[in-house]
């Protein structure tokens, strides 16, 4: 087979993804011309930054074949921590650093419980998420914190623009570029993948699998804090359920991306997040009531998982029977 005719792996899927994006954007633009206005595109990119940051950490957790259901609670706790510090007049960077440390700490608790003590991931993260969500109430007994937000400069994070787009979007692109390089071009990333693919053989190949599982949870805690910082900047107040809306879009972003591009990866998550954010934003722009949005995201997630998963298996099946016609008896085919 001539080498130069082969396209990069997943190229067809990437083209399919672009066509899907064009179709969705075209449909929204037909219904509501404002969809393509620079104002709306700027809003899409800002929301994408929020959803994308939360989904990035989850991507790593999913790559090591675990689930994290706690990051929404972690984000709520970090939001109130940051809000509390801002209200008490600390510098913004101190507030954000402490918030990140709080997120890392909860992630570390998850990571130690799951990787060192071997506790089941779903149960443990539901518990820690619930605890973190409860702890969010400690600072103000559940009241909204808004003092000093105007003067602290956090609002500027939302308003600052480069070339007409929010700074947060460029931050997202930068952090995804770093993540892509680390996850898909270095041996550290390969170790994450190996930990997920086959922890036993990864361990015997010299990968400290427990460390990588631990790191995935710590990073997941921290990226959810970054996401909630953007939410705080947009709303200008800190509320106890500030991070609750991160869960659905993050899961949808990771798994829709994986379904579209044929595997969990940093770029797949970016693609999935882009599509989900565009859809959510488009639906709210054309005036679909808020209570439909979760249903729409869920339906798309489900459709993506079902359709693409089936197709992968069919393709794989066809390919294997084509390449290995005589290697096994026909009736043993699945």
């Amino acid at each position: 087979m001539p080498d130069r005719l082969t396209l990069p792996a997943g190229f067809g899927r990437f083209v399919a993804f672009l066509i899907l994006v064009a179709v969705v954007a075209g449909a929204f633009a037909l219904i509501e011309p404002r969809f393509l206005s620079s104002q709306n595109l700027s809003a899409v990119t800002r929301h994408m930054a929020t959803n994308g940051l939360a989904a990035l950490g989850l991507t790593l957790v999913v790559i090591v074949r675990k689930f994290d259901l706690s990051f929404a609670g972690t984000a709520c706790f970090a939001a109130m921590t940051i809000g509390f510090l801002i209200a008490n007049g600390y510098d913004l960077w101190v507030c954000i650093l402490v918030g990140l440390a709080a997120g890392a700490a909860i992630g570390a608790i998850n990571g130690i419980a799951i990787s060192v003590f071997g506790l089941p991931d779903i149960v443990t993260t539901i518990a820690t998420g619930s605890i973190a969500g409860g702890l969010a109430f400690l600072y103000s007994k559940g009241r909204t914190i808004f003092q000093n937000f105007m003067q602290s400069g956090i609002i500027d994070l939302n308003d600052a623009r480069i070339l007409g787009y929010s700074v947060s979007f460029f931050f997202l692109i930068a952090i995804y570029a770093v993540a892509w390089f680390l996850m898909h071009r270095t041996r550290y990333g390969a170790s994450f993948q190996a930990t997920g693919e086959n922890p036993v053989s990864a361990y015997f190949s010299g990968v400290p699998t427990k460390l990588y599982t631990f790191l995935a949870f710590v990073i997941c805690g921290m990226t959810s804090v970054l996401a909630v910082v953007l939410i705080l900047a947009e709303s200008g107040t800190a509320d106890t359920n500030e991070g609750a809306n991160l869960l659905m879009p993050a899961y949808a972003g990771v798994f829709l991306g994986a379904a579209l591009l044929g595997g969990t990866s940093v770029l797949a998550t970016l693609a999935g997040t882009f599509l989900i954010t565009m859809l959510l934003d488009g639906f709210s722009l054309i005036g679909v009531p808020y209570y439909y949005s979760d249903g729409v995201v869920s339906a798309i997630l489900l459709a993506g998982v079902v359709l693409f998963d089936q197709r992968v298996r069919m393709l794989f099946h066809d390919l294997s029977t084509f390449l290995l016609p005589a290697s096994e008896p026909r009736e043993k085919r699945p």
């Binding site: 074949r65 675990k66 689930f67 419980a113 003590f117 071997g118 506790l119 089941p120 779903i122 149960v123 443990t124 539901i126 518990a127 820690t128 998420g129 619930s130 605890i131 969500g133 409860g134 702890l135 969010a136 109430f137 400690l138 007994k141 559940g142 106890t240 659905m248 899961y251 798994f255 009531p289 808020y290 209570y291 439909y292 949005s293 979760d294 249903g295 729409v296 995201v297 869920s298 339906a299 997630l301 489900l302 998982v305 079902v306 998963d309 089936q310």
Partner: protein, 338 residues
């Protein structure tokens, strides 16, 4: 990735039990029940009115509704799958019934429609997980989101008032002394479920499915059909609880699911820390539900805030998982396995 509770029995070596082994086995098996009695004793000492017949009726009634909702979930998690859509299925059953009642239909139709919606949701979950072999967590997150959205859409985002709670509403408030009728019904249902789980091969296959679906298939039982049944059963249980809640609250509440998510999972998973350590079972679930209800009632009397209870529940869940894992690693744990 799909296993929810770790397979504990397989890991424990079989050794002869010593005296301390018996003790740690007992603690491992019954600590939840002991905690329940200690908690009742402490609350009764601090606030004697928790033992008022009226309060006991309230505790038992809320426990009974919760118990109906998570009966199917218990077996699903025992079979190594998870269903995080159960509370939204309950909300959808609840809103379907309330919406039909508000539209003028009778209680029979409304209740049956609410329950049927739950069966459909369970069938969809079961088809996607058992037949198409998709990951249960992702599938049920998505179907749960759709159900929650549909429930909210039925009431256009707000609750639906029910003028007449009907005969179901009356039956829910029938009680003899401190025992409400619904608690007796649920006790009978749970006794039958216990029988099915412990004495019939059905129960063995549930626990075996968590260990190896291939082995269950080799034994001549279709694990696919078993899982499909369990998902439909879970949908039915949730929807029945949702319809009963509609009668109990005289309204359809689209957001009702959110308050049951943590509680339902905590009940099942804490329950899995008892008797069959590491495996959800109906007796454990009952004990854990009572524990949570007593905690809610007692802490309300002590004036604790909602978030404090949330932290305690989370800690309890974490502690329960840790204790169960520890117990399962001690040599005696094998005796508690199936």
């Amino acid at each position: 990735m799909t296993e929810v509770m770790t397979d504990t029995a397989a890991r424990a070596p079989t050794e002869r039990q010593g005296h301390s082994g018996m003790l740690s086995s007992f603690v491992g098996r019954y600590w939840l029940a002991v905690t329940l009695f200690l908690m009742i004793a402490v609350f009764a000492w601090l606030r004697p009115q928790i033992l008022d017949p009226a309060n006991i009726v309230t505790i038992l009634r809320t426990s009974a509704l919760m118990a109906i909702m998570v009966l199917g979930l218990t077996w699903l998690i025992a079979a190594g799958k998870i269903d995080v859509s159960f509370m939204h299925v309950a909300a959808l059953g609840n809103m379907t019934a309330a919406w039909l009642l508000a539209g003028g239909s009778g209680w029979t139709i409304a209740a049956l429609a609410g329950i049927a919606v739950g069966a459909v949701a369970g069938l969809v979950n079961g088809f996607l997980v058992a037949v198409l072999r998709l990951p249960p967590l992702i599938v049920t997150i998505a179907t749960g989101g759709i159900c929650a959205s549909a429930a909210a859409a039925l009431g256009k985002g707000t609750s639906v008032r029910i003028a007449d709670p009907g005969i179901l509403g009356e039956l829910l408030y029938v009680s003899w002394g401190p025992i409400p009728l619904i608690a007796i019904v649920v006790a009978v249902v749970y006794a039958l479920s216990w029988y099915a789980q412990e004495k019939l091969t059905f129960g063995h296959y549930i626990f075996a499915t968590a260990q190896s679906e291939a082995a269950v298939n080799e034994a001549g039982i279709s694990s696919r059909r078993l899982l499909l049944f369990l998902f439909v059963f879970s949908g039915l249980c949730s929807a029945i609880a949702g319809v009963l809640l509609a009668a109990n609250l005289s309204s359809g509440q689209p957001m009702i699911g959110n308050s049951y998510f943590i509680d339902g999972l905590t009940a099942v998973l804490l329950g899995g820390m008892m008797i069959r350590v590491g495996k959800p079972n109906v007796i454990g679930t009952t004990t854990a539900i009572l524990l949570l209800s007593v905690l809610v009632s007692g802490s309300a009397m002590l004036g604790w805030a909602d978030y404090q209870r949330q932290i305690i529940k989370g800690l309890l869940l974490l502690l329960g998982v840790a204790v169960a894992m520890r117990a399962s690693r001690s040599p005696s744990a094998h005796a508690t396995g199936a």
